[in-house]
Symmetry: D3
Subunit: 323 residues, 6 copies
């Protein structure tokens, strides 16, 4: 029976435009609160864009995602999954970053997620730029490398920028592989496109065993075929999902820092995510929503709609891990 303390406010009781906006209208709970120990899935914001090399603003992502998330209802239209009944879900607030200190901020994030792991909470994160996936993985993969399904227009496997800078939103997965947080043979990247610097990122990835699918692969093979391969790549072991909003075509998600034209639409994105059902998903993030580049909120609405799709999978995975 669903826990009444963890049900979102219904739009039939309080109109969707009303109320203090927590993620999906869930209770806002912080470590130390009475209900904290019952939380199973934690929605967390990481308001950070210090790793952004071009257009900033992702630090404002969690705020706008929360705002638009109040339009999310309770039941999945196709699978009929009810994540808020499957697990106790809560908004755990934001990890406090220091916008003027990159390394300190990474530490704060990894500490926060390490604690979540210790507390048995499965996290669904709203970014923030893509650099945040690195400290999240440091927290979640402290026991050993995990697999990853990565939706993105870019590999984020670059080595360095600006003559030696190792930590930017273009490098998290290079670092994660080096730090053995990710098992590259269990990593698949889907949707890569856009003009290239020199291709060294792709060479590195493939040389290390990462499966990299260009957008043409997705468009020609279709979502079902691509995701069958993804399920093969990651297998049944613990797997993380990282979803960069710039995976989706910028006409549908313009509020992001590094748009690349020729991307898939949201329908395809939804179908791809749904095909992760049954995997052993231990966490996920939705990153790179930059509200200043889309004050209309359209991108945030896409983002939280995808977050709900992922949440359904995560809730089932969490339940399954509990046996």
């Amino acid at each position: 029976m669903p826990n009444p303390s963890f049900q979102p406010v219904s739009g039939f009781d309080l109109p969707r435009f009303a109320g203090v906006p927590s993620f999906m209208r869930l209770p806002h709970i912080q470590k130390g609160d009475k209900l904290y120990s019952d939380v199973e899935i934690g929605l967390v914001g990481v308001p950070w864009d210090g790793g952004t090399t071009n257009r900033p603003g992702a630090r404002h992502g969690p705020r706008q995602l929360r705002d638009y998330s109040t339009m999310i209802r309770a039941v999945h239209p196709v699978s009929h999954l009810k994540p808020f009944e499957l697990c106790n879900c809560a908004d755990l607030g934001d990890v406090p970053p220091n916008p003027a200190d990159l390394m300190a901020s990474l530490d704060r994030v990894s500490t926060f997620y390490s604690q979540l792991k210790d507390d048995g909470i499965t996290p669904l994160t709203a970014g923030g730029d893509h650099l945040i996936s690195l400290p999240i993985l440091r927290g979640l993969a402290k026991d050993g490398p995990v697999g990853m399904i990565h939706f993105d227009a870019h590999t984020d496997l670059f080595n360095e920028y600006f003559g030696g800078t190792k930590y930017t939103h273009g490098t998290p997965f290079r670092r994660a592989i080096e730090e053995e947080l990710l098992d590259p043979r269990r990593v698949i990247q889907i949707g890569i496109r856009g003009t290239m610097y020199d291709g060294e990122d792709i060479e590195f990835g493939r040389a290390n065993g990462v499966t990299i699918l260009m957008i043409e692969d997705l468009m020609e093979r279709g979502f079902a075929d691509v995701m069958a391969q993804a399920r093969d790549v990651v297998g049944k072991q613990p797997t993380y999902c990282s979803f960069d909003i710039d995976f989706i075509d910028p006409s549908q998600a313009p509020g992001t820092g590094t748009p690349e034209i020729g991307g898939p639409d949201t329908y395809t994105a939804q179908r791809l995510v749904r095909e992760m059902r049954g995997l052993n998903l231990i966490g996920a993030d939705l990153v790179e929503v930059s509200p200043p580049f889309d004050p209309s909120g359209q991108t945030a609405w896409v983002g939280v709609s995808i977050m709900f799709e992922i949440l359904c999978i995560l809730a089932e995975s969490h339940r399954a891990r509990l046996g």
Copy 2:
């Protein structure tokens, strides 16, 4: 021979940005005017959003739709239908609503459309939120239930909101079925998607014989197959068409109150509408364009482009009914 009194101003004579903007640059005629008795198809605005449960603004729809409609030309690019030559078309102005009195406004709308029916005028309506379809149907279906082809992301078959409210933009077709304005077995809904409250609306619809196609049905089967089914469902009897702009993906029609991602594109929408050719269409509406959420006018441009597609079908139907 086309009636010169009912031809739109040509963009070759007066640039499209010039002039007082009536619908499609047609003559603005009101009951009592000399030309009124010759009108065959009436374009009508219903500037109303009092039934809106979340984001308002559809009251401003007719104004912005008129503005963008001055970019519409005279001939259909594929069918080569010329609606303004087939029928005498006119802008009949707006039904005056009372923004602070819901029930009075519904009455004004039903009175207006009942009169149109008596006057033999086939209406093409620009909304307004979706609640307006109810009083329109009260006017048009006063002799008996009609069929309906309904393009929308939502069923609008809910029973009530906010603990007992029966009249909102989420309930018009529940009421219309209860009031026997619609024959549910002759109703088809296309494009349903988005997170659900509990699914009771769909259960009610299907239990009463409504054909409900989810977006996945449309995407997998294609427009031709779906519309073949639609034609079977409605048959040759009088049929209404209701087109909610949120049927179309919000990246293409962002100016609406309840967007749902993963929708069809405008090309698909055009192909769907064209497949209604030959049906006995007695009226149609295009609703839920909310200009404050799209000051760019892109949504209104989509809306009037779809209205022109529908107008071609309506004009042929009207002509056919006259024998």
Copy 3:
């Protein structure tokens, strides 16, 4: 000594873009919560625009005002008042409206504020359209009429709209005077301007003793002189303050439904509010912020900055009443 449970989160601890946005980063407390009985000043949202006769959207006001209120700091720059140390302030959430039922919504609001009065809480409200001031006054003035300082471009003293409609955002103070919630001889209106229907509203007001100052009075006499008169008009008895954002020039506060050019700037607005210091202020509202007409948030930022100015006055008044 300030109560640590009621201090806003500092921007030095958590950046201003981070966290779940309650009003001014205060604790979000609802009736039934442990801390509720210690609340002295309650910040309340009334997300409602059902009384709006032209451009809607004020229902979204409280959400956007909360968002921008996270940029407010703790100390007044001129008076050096520290409202969060003077009183226990909290965000009490939103009164739940029913967007499709005007009379039911008015009842919900008056019930809520009547309860606040019983609980000894001084309310500072974020609207919502101006009609909400009526049910707020029904709650706060149930023991007898109060005075009012009213900043607005419009008198809101109209009798009816649309042939008989008595409750719109243009009529609240006509009703409040009729219901003896306001003592018209203790009411002053400042900033009136814009084209007029017929002036009947002004005639009614003046005939009943309301002091109505046109914008020319303010511009020619200056803020100090006008507010000296205002203090005379309201005296030492209980006084309400209603601040319509359209008082301010639309270039500075464009996000509102009924803008009138030729208004005062925000500097003048701040100076006016500060001159209320020492009055017996029992509550206040800031209304008519309509986010869809200003997605930039500039208007909301003006609104919450004015709310902070008022809060300083309210906190001192509340403290003074406690002796």
Copy 4:
């Protein structure tokens, strides 16, 4: 007694967002219509920007000005003038321009206004870029030069652009003086500011007797003193008023092609216009509103508000000329 055929639709009968938008909700009348011969003041659009040397879009001005003009009510708040009762006012539609043929368009405009003069109609024009004032003056001043009160950030007295081009929106009044449409000793320009090419325009103007007041003159002397001088300059003979929206500070009227910071606010603009009362005003224009640079409509709202102020003066002047 006011002529009922020429009264605007009231916002108490039909909400301001409803209906086909003619100027100030007046009847839309064209030459040949039955009511045309009763028209005394004609509101006319000249949708033209072919003379624009930098940012275009003023061709869209009349459309957006009509849209926002539906928020204008019937009575002036200070003078209590009722222009629609003083004179029969009507929307005469737009002069049809040819956007790709400058000289042909000028001819169409001068022909139109020459006809208005013959028909005894006093015109109030919505532009369009400032070049349109030239052909308007060719129509209105065909019997001899007139005076002019000119509100603008620029003199528009340049000789030529781009190596010999004589007709741009920077040259109309140079040409008008050369063509003896304006009597330069009866011309005053108010509000001039912004970086200069070389000052030759000002030298020409002053050498020919034009009174040119820089913005510093206005700011330091105030509206009353400046307008006393203006009344002296133009005297009691026929006078035209040309109001370039860029006279007003761009923060209040951003939608224009050549903004200059440091301008007056709308309150000052209103006070200036009101001081024209009693002059022999034979026509006026409001130009350079460019909607693409202000989709919010704020500039258009300022524009029509100023148009109403001017209309009050024009109506009284027209009435006075009839004796």
Copy 5:
């Protein structure tokens, strides 16, 4: 070995938001500069919209396209072509137009391109409205007619507008065929759609041998089949490519003057352009980007991304012509 003087600034050295924005961060070189004689491919702006019949603003296209072009990197993601290594590419600045003199501007453009042809430079042009293709062709095809692959929603084969105007952005290719700049049998138009005036443009085109493919042809046959036909139509002789941004659906490229719904997405556009590989391309343009209708820059980003796709083809063609 690539010429170091012609390499774009790398985003690894200077962040993409920094620096004076030339096209693709290439050197800005003008005739007379030392490096001019080494230029092989010239990127040129033609900031002009004097031929626009409805919504202007394309004069601002080159500026915004330059701005967004700084996000383009150096290598094509699929073909791995490196245009900046294949040829010496440079930004040649803008052709200076006279916004108030149409015929003079056409002459300036044709003179500029005639010179480029004499200098052996292959041009890639950023418009400007579509009329600019006519003087460009006058320069490039002075030795005899060329073929053309034309991506557009409109044929631009109209004869005249506004009762006799021969030169607008709707007529360039009618004129180019009449002037024997284009060989109509070697011209293919792809993507035609939208409501029609009367179809005379299409009749003229087909009667003269132009291959005109409606959008339905493209959607049903796919990019590969359509481009196979295109390659057959133009053959191996010199061919121009004209890409009107309104070819792409307005949801993806809203910043344009004459949008038509139901268009292809950017992925399809990219695939179409890539199929031109191997043709004898002598120049190309990307026109009708109108920044005032898309201040977000999304359309410009689409535009420069397509320009890069075309540049890869052009560079290979130029190299091939040199043997």
Copy 6:
């Protein structure tokens, strides 16, 4: 006689919307270019926002400021100063920052400005967030502390943020005083306002001799009186001018990260700057323009207009120093 190599392109020759946008259409010159040694005044961009504690985007400032600066003409309207004739002015490009490395970026800026000082070039800088003033002063004040006239809503005299962070856009002048780059007794701050953390910044400043004027001082005393004091404070010794765009009211300059209502208008800002004439100005900056928060460019237009006002003063100062 003015040096022809350093004259901006005239808008009479090339329309203002055309061409590659350098600052004020001046030549773009880099160290190593032939003309570099003749440069007297260098306009420099510092595209940086790594010190921003709330809303980012100032890294995009120089680009947008360059874009709008092409609307600046050559002569001051009141003083008739011609800066481009007084000195050889050039656009020196941007200092390349590293967006992910704060300390490295500060070093690059100070190195750049130290070199300018050595080269005898007086810099006028376009930021960037306010932290950039620190490394600029490190370059310019390496010989000893300078005075400063500082226009801003904030003191930027804070000690640290986020528990110990010393370098943010709120701390540059605390650091500059500590590092003896500024002589605090020769520093005046004008326009301070907005809610305060605790006032420690003001206490520090005043304790060290800084003259801090609140906005009320400016509004009540007027620009002339305040600037007389400013001239007294800084005297005849070398003085820097730092102009934070948030000094100006956010209704006039909304595109900035930390707006405070109740600020002065642009007219006042212009008058204030003009009163610096005759001072020994050795450099200046205009900072905190954040384009993502004002895509309209209005803020950038204000910014470059103020930059031109300052440039006139700088040019006269530079000339005077040369004797």
